[in-house]
C-alpha cells in the first residue's frame, strides 16, 4: 500500500540553534490513526508542522505522493488538515460560521458553497446550532470541535491534531474520541495523554530528543516507555 505521508531523514534546527529533529523517518497509511508520544521538547509538534510546510527542514517529506515544497504548498494544505493545540489561535474570525468557512473560501469556492460546506462540517461536529456565536462565547470543548470543523470543511485526507485534549474535561474528551472515531480520514495525534492515545490511535511512535525511538501498537509503546501516571509514580 502506498503511504499517505512519507518522511525520510528529516532534520530541523530552530534559529536559536536548538536541534529539534535529528533524522526522522515516518509513514502514515490511509485510514490509520497514529499517536505521537514523547516528552515536552522531543520534537513532536516541530515534526507535524513540516507536514503542511509551515516549517521546512532538511530531508524528504511527501504527502499523497507530492513533495512538500513551495510548488505544491496549496495542494498539500488542502490534503493535510491541522488542528492546533490552542483552539483560540485557530478561531480568529468573528463568528463560528465565518471561521469554519474561512478555509473553503480560501480554496476559491463561491460563498454559497463555502457556507454549505461550513454548515455541513458544523453538523458533523454537532455545533450547527452555534454557527452565529462568536468564538469567545464557546466552551473549551466547543472551541476544539469548531476548530476541527474548520479543518473538516476543507475535506482533507489527513487530520493532524496537536494535543487535542488540552483544556478538555473527561466528558469532552470522550466526545472528542467518539467524533474522531467517526471520521474516515487518516489521523496523526500528538498527545501526552496515554488513555486518549489508547482510545484514539491504532499505532504509536515515541519521540525522544528529535528522533523516533520506537514505533508499534499503542499499549506496547506505553508500557515500554512507562508512559502512564501510575508507572511513573512507582
Amino acid at each position: 500500500m502506498t503511504p499517505l505521508v512519507r518522511v525520510r531523514n528529516l532534520h530541523y534546527s530552530y534559529d536559536n540553534g536548538t536541534q529539534a529533529l535529528r533524522g526522522v523517518d515516518f509513514e502514515l497509511y490511509p485510514g490509520e490513526s497514529v499517536a505521537l508520544l514523547g516528552a515536552n521538547g522531543s520534537g513532536k509538534t516541530t515534526f507535524v508542522l513540516h507536514l503542511n510546510g509551515l516549517l521546512t527542514g532538511q530531508g524528504d517529506v511527501e504527502v499523497a505522493g507530492l513533495p512538500v515544497n513551495a510548488t505544491h504548498l496549496q495542494q498539500i494544505r488542502r490534503k493535510v488538515g491541522m488542528v492546533f493545540q490552542d483552539a483560540d489561535e485557530q478561531l480568529f474570525m468573528p463568528t463560528v460560521l465565518e471561521d469554519v468557512a474561512y478555509g473553503p473560501a480560501n480554496l476559491g469556492l463561491p460563498p454559497e458553497e463555502a457556507v454549505h460546506r461550513a454548515l455541513h462540517a458544523l453538523e458533523a461536529v454537532g455545533l450547527k446550532h452555534l454557527e452565529k456565536r462568536a468564538p469567545y462565547q464557546l466552551s473549551a470543548g466547543e472551541k476544539r470541535r469548531a476548530a476541527i470543523a474548520g479543518v473538516l470543511a476543507m475535506a482533507p485526507e489527513i487530520l493532524v491534531l496537536d494535543e487535542p485534549t488540552t483544556y478538555l474535561d473527561p466528558p469532552a474528551q470522550r466526545e472528542l474520541i467518539r467524533l474522531l472515531a467517526a471520521l474516515p480520514q487518516a489521523k496523526i495525534i500528538v498527545t501526552h495523554d496515554a488513555s486518549f492515545a489508547l482510545a484514539a490511535a491504532h499505532r504509536a511512535v515515541f519521540f525522544q530528543q528529535g528522533i523516533i525511538a520506537a514505533a508499534g501498537p499503542v499499549p506496547e509503546i506505553l508500557h515500554r516507555f512507562r508512559w502512564t501516571v501510575t508507572q511513573h509514580s512507582e
Binding site: R77, F84, D86, D88, Q90, F92, L107, A134, M154
Partner: protein
C-alpha cells in the same frame, strides 16, 4: 471589562438591534457630521435634539440609561484638557462646545456599538467599503482582546496567590510577559491561517439583505441629520 458588557448589550433583540449594521453606521456618520458642523450659537438646540435621539434609542433598545451615559463620559477627560486651553485662551463658548460635542459623539457611537454585535459591525464596515486590512485589524484586536485580558487576569491571580503586592516593577514585568506571549500567539495565528490556505484578507461570505426597515431607518436618520444641520444655523 467594558467590552464584555458591550458584548452582552449588543446581543439584544430590540428593533434597533435587528437593523442592518450598515443602516446604523450611515445614520451615525450623518449625525456626527451634522453635529460637527453645528456652530456654537445653535449648539444647545442641537444637543437637546441629539440627547433626545440617544435617550429614545436607549429606551427602544432596552439598554440601561445611566450606565451607558456614564460610560460615554470616558471621553471627557481627554476633551476637557483641550477645552481648558480654549477656556483660558478667552473662548469659553468653544470650550463648552467641545465638551458637549465630544460627549454627544461618544454617546451616539456607544449607542451603535451597544446595539450591534461586533461581527455584524465589521461586516457592515466591510460592505460600506472600509479597506479590508482595517476591518481585519479591528477584528483581530477585538477577538484577541478577550484572550489577552483573560491571560492578564490569570497573571494577576497568580501574583495575588503568592501575595504579590503589585507596584510599578511587577506591572511592567507583567506587561512585558504579556507582550512576549502576544507575539508568540500572533505567529501561531499566522500559522493557523496558512494551514487553511490563508490569504492576506478573508474573502467575504453571503451578505444579509438591506431590507425596507433598514432603508426607512437610514432615510429618516439622514433627513434628521440634514434638518439638524440646517436648523442649528443661527
Amino acid at each position: 471589562m467594558h467590552h464584555v458588557v458591550l458584548e452582552r448589550w449588543s446581543r439584544g433583540a430590540s428593533a434597533l438591534h435587528r437593523l442592518d449594521a450598515r443602516a446604523k453606521l450611515i445614520a451615525l456618520f450623518a449625525l456626527l457630521v451634522a453635529l460637527s458642523l453645528t456652530p456654537p450659537a445653535g449648539l444647545l438646540r442641537a444637543a437637546a435634539f441629539l440627547l433626545a435621539v440617544v435617550l429614545s434609542g436607549l429606551v427602544c433598545a432596552r439598554l440601561p440609561l445611566t450606565q451607558l451615559l456614564l460610560r460615554a463620559a470616558v471621553v471627557l477627560p481627554f476633551s476637557a484638557s483641550v477645552a481648558l486651553v480654549s477656556w483660558f485662551a478667552g473662548d469659553p463658548s468653544r470650550a463648552i462646545s467641545l465638551l458637549l460635542k465630544s460627549y454627544l459623539s461618544a454617546s451616539l457611537v456607544l449607542l451603535v456599538v451597544a446595539t450591534t454585535p461586533m461581527p455584524d459591525l465589521l461586516t457592515g464596515l466591510k460592505r460600506l467599503g472600509l479597506p479590508a486590512v482595517l476591518t481585519l485589524v479591528i477584528q483581530f484586536v477585538y477577538r484577541y482582546l478577550f484572550v489577552i485580558s483573560e491571560q492578564a487576569q490569570h497573571m494577576r491571580l497568580a501574583s495575588a496567590a503568592r501575595l504579590g503586592a503589585g507596584g510599578f516593577r511587577i506591572s511592567a514585568g507583567a506587561v512585558a510577559v504579556l507582550f512576549a506571549r502576544s507575539l508568540a500567539r500572533a505567529e501561531h495565528i499566522h500559522w493557523a491561517m496558512l494551514a487553511r490556505c490563508g490569504v492576506s484578507t478573508p474573502r467575504p461570505l453571503l451578505a444579509r439583505p438591506f431590507g425596507p426597515p433598514d432603508v426607512l431607518f437610514t432615510v429618516c436618520a439622514v433627513a434628521a441629520a440634514a434638518a439638524l444641520a440646517i436648523l442649528s444655523r443661527p
